[in-house]
Amino acid sequence: MQFGRGGKPSAGAFFDSDFATIDTFLAQAVLHGLQGKNDCRVAIVTMTRPNLPVAGFVDAVERYYRGPAGNFAQVPPVGVRTEGAAGETPAGVTAPFEKKGPDGKPLHENKVRTVIDTGDPNTLFRNYLEAQNDQNAFFVLAGPATNLAAALQFRGMKELIAAKIRFLVMAGGAFEANAGPETHFKADVAAAKRVLAEWPTPVILAGAEIGAAFPFPGASIAKEFAANSPEHPVAELYREWKTAGYNAPSDALAAALYAARPKETYFKVSEAGTVTVHDDGRTSFVAAAGGKHQHLIVDASQRDKVVQAYVDLASAKPVLPQRFRPPVADKPADPLLNKPVKQPE
């Protein structure tokens, strides 16, 4: 996406996840909600496991927010890792495709039939990072660090990340005393270790305790989603996933929210230090000046504000991406046509 005037656009968001828990799908919606408020632009969404039905759902969410492909922009493919286990397919990922509108046509279309309908995560990272202004993008990771660890070994990627990315926010780790192994770290300990050691920007972690403290209210599916985005595919998924009223842990949501609005007071942030991932997936943190890791800390006084933000942003009505071309009065002549291009009415 290009902007004809007004300097830098809002920060580009790169979202990588295993899409194995409901909060990861909600986080994708929250990032698009933040885009609607001009707090970020969702550049690309990637998956750490080769599960095509889930990729089809994630792709449908992208299309729900981005609208039909138009001039100078396509809906980018979902990046899908082709190695490893496909894992579980959550009940409900096909539910939105069965829903029809008043005209009898499906409200959502599954455009991921085979792996060719997806992209290679590294290629997508590279291609979409190159389109960002320097220090004007962030990564959100809500799953095993597999894709990001692989990216660090991809030709030229570390330098590109250092140039373009401000920080990485990981939904990972567990920072309470005596916390056990954390799911995302445990799923790929080697990858988590590599990313924490080699990622060339600051890394902020949203631990399991953040997700547990401010759960996402399941009641919002029947209330806010029904009112604001009745056709939202994630609402369909949520209904099928758990019984009504289920409140979901929200560490992925916290990571997305903090990444796009780091100056807000939703959470406290630890001092700088070093996070260590142990072989069994447990986490430890040691404060140290100059350390490049920090982790979010629950601020109980912000509970309502945080939960309200989750609900409002995830259920917000889609705001279609703005056209990059300036209004017709500002449009320079196209030298090839030798006359101004008129914008459609």
Partner: protein, 446 residues
């Protein structure tokens, strides 16, 4: 036992003045091994501008090619030799923070895989992959590579939103700053191929035209000497080959005569035919000869330049090509672009036919040993898209490509991955080129 000394592969028929005609492969060049000598692999690129109407280019299926879509219809007789690729992408053609100028970028980066510098004066690109190959194997042929085209080779000026014309008017780049301008004039190409390797001086040209003599007349003595040493098969081959050169020469003479009748103010240098199909036929006939005689193994051909506003009056289309492609989904305009797309393919098909009907020393066809890439740097021209670029590879690249099918790769797969594979086939393996992420898998027969 009688032994005969083999004729060297690089034998020329030479004559008075600057004439020097390279020969096709003859049995006499390797009598004992003629049947087993493996012909070299050649590659050529045919670039068409302003994207493609994709619904008439892409079949709706993957796998074995059935009835070809409308734009490719002229290639129907050769579909068993076609590999149609889907989803190849040139990310370096995209804006990537450089704003407008998709035409300048997409052609500039087409063979380099490098994001070109947006400038009118301080041009900067990368070395194109054909030239990397030419640098490695070019010494084996008379010309390391040939750069040809049909429209507008000017290098200076703004050809697209701040991109220098050097980016839209050249495909091959010898270095970051040195494009290789295409030869547009059939006469100039003829003189380069059958002369000293350079266009004739005005004096030489005058002398030759004064006597209306064929280039073959200058090498008569050498031809007779050679014929005396050849067997009947080689004699026939030589005769066919020299006849094809004579035919090209006649075409050029005819075009020059015709051009003298038309408006002298027309924007065409002397010798370039006004008729598009005629121009293409001459250039492509010489391309076939160049490959047949192993004068070069690498050709880049710019059918017309990116952003071209050439009208196609021969099709009853007086509108410029580029403005038409911004059709705003108006069906009447789309239809005209479809006709132009199909017309270009029709010309290309005549070249494919020639390549398929020309036999190599081992009984294979010239086409079997070629990789002819036909494609564009944009897909949907109205939207200026750089993904799913229209791309076909025609020919088996020396019994390598599994043709007769449509193969779709993952979305966003770099076009440079195809180039990496082609470099391998040309005997110049490299690990990385442009924005490649690895070789394109699944192309081969294995």
């Amino acid at each position: 036992m009688m032994t005969r000394k083999a004729l060297p592969r690089r034998t020329f028929l030479r004559g008075m003045g600057s004439a020097a005609i390279a020969l096709p492969f003859l049995d006499a060049m390797s009598p004992a091994f003629a049947a087993t000598t493996k012909p070299p692999v050649r590659m050529a690129f045919f670039y068409v501008p302003n994207g493609m109407i994709m619904d008439s280019w892409n079949p709706s299926y993957e796998g074995k090619l059935g009835e070809l879509p409308r734009t490719l219809k002229a290639l129907e007789p050769y579909k068993e030799d076609i590999l149609q690729l889907g989803n190849l992408t040139h990310n370096t053609g995209r804006a990537l923070l450089d704003g407008a100028g998709d035409h300048g970028r997409c052609s500039g980066s087409y063979l380099t895989g490098i994001q070109v510098k947006k400038s009118l004066i301080d041009i900067k690109n990368g070395i194109s992959f054909d030239q990397i190959v030419a640098n490695e194997i070019g010494k084996q042929t008379r010309f390391p590579s040939l750069e040809l085209g049909m429209e507008d080779a000017r290098q200076a000026g703004d050809c697209d939103s701040g991109y220098a014309c050097a980016y839209t008017n050249n495909l091959a780049w010898r270095s970051e700053t040195q494009p290789l301008p295409p030869i547009l004039d059939p006469r100039a190409l003829f003189e380069r191929m059958f002369g000293k390797g350079l266009p004739m001086t005005p004096e030489e040209r005058l002398r030759q035209s004064k006597y209306r003599r064929s280039i073959l007349d200058f090498v008569t003595e050498d031809t007779h000497k050679l014929e005396a040493t050849l067997g009947p098969t080689d004699k026939r081959k030589l005769d066919e080959y020299l006849s094809s050169i004579r035919e090209v020469e006649r075409q050029i003479d005819r075009a020059e005569k015709d051009n003298s009748q038309i408006d002298p103010h027309m924007d065409k240098p002397y010798g370039i035919p006004a008729d598009f199909a005629e121009h293409f036929r001459m250039m492509s006939n010489m391309m076939a000869i160049a490959f047949q005689a192993d004068q070069t193994r690498i050709i880049t051909f710019l059918m017309t330049r990116e952003g071209s506003s050439r009208p196609y009056r021969e099709l009853g289309i007086p509108d410029g090509h580029h403005p038409l492609t911004h059709h705003r989904n108006q069906e009447d305009l789309i239809e005209k672009v479809r006709q132009i797309n199909a017309y270009h393919v029709q010309q290309f098909a005549s070249f494919v036919e020639k390549m398929k009907s020309t036999k190599e020393a081992d009984g294979s066809t010239l086409l079997d040993n070629c990789m002819l890439v036909y494609g564009a740097g944009l897909s949907d021209p109205n939207a200026h898209l750089h993904e799913d670029l229209p791309t076909i590879v025609v020919g088996k690249g020396g019994n390598y490509f599994k043709t007769g099918r449509r193969m779709i790769v993952r979305r966003e797969t770099p076009m440079c991955n195809l180039f990496l594979t082609m470099m391998d086939r040309m005997g110049v393996p490299v690990e990385h080129f442009g924005d490649s992420t690895g070789k394109l898998e699944g192309l081969n027969l294995g």
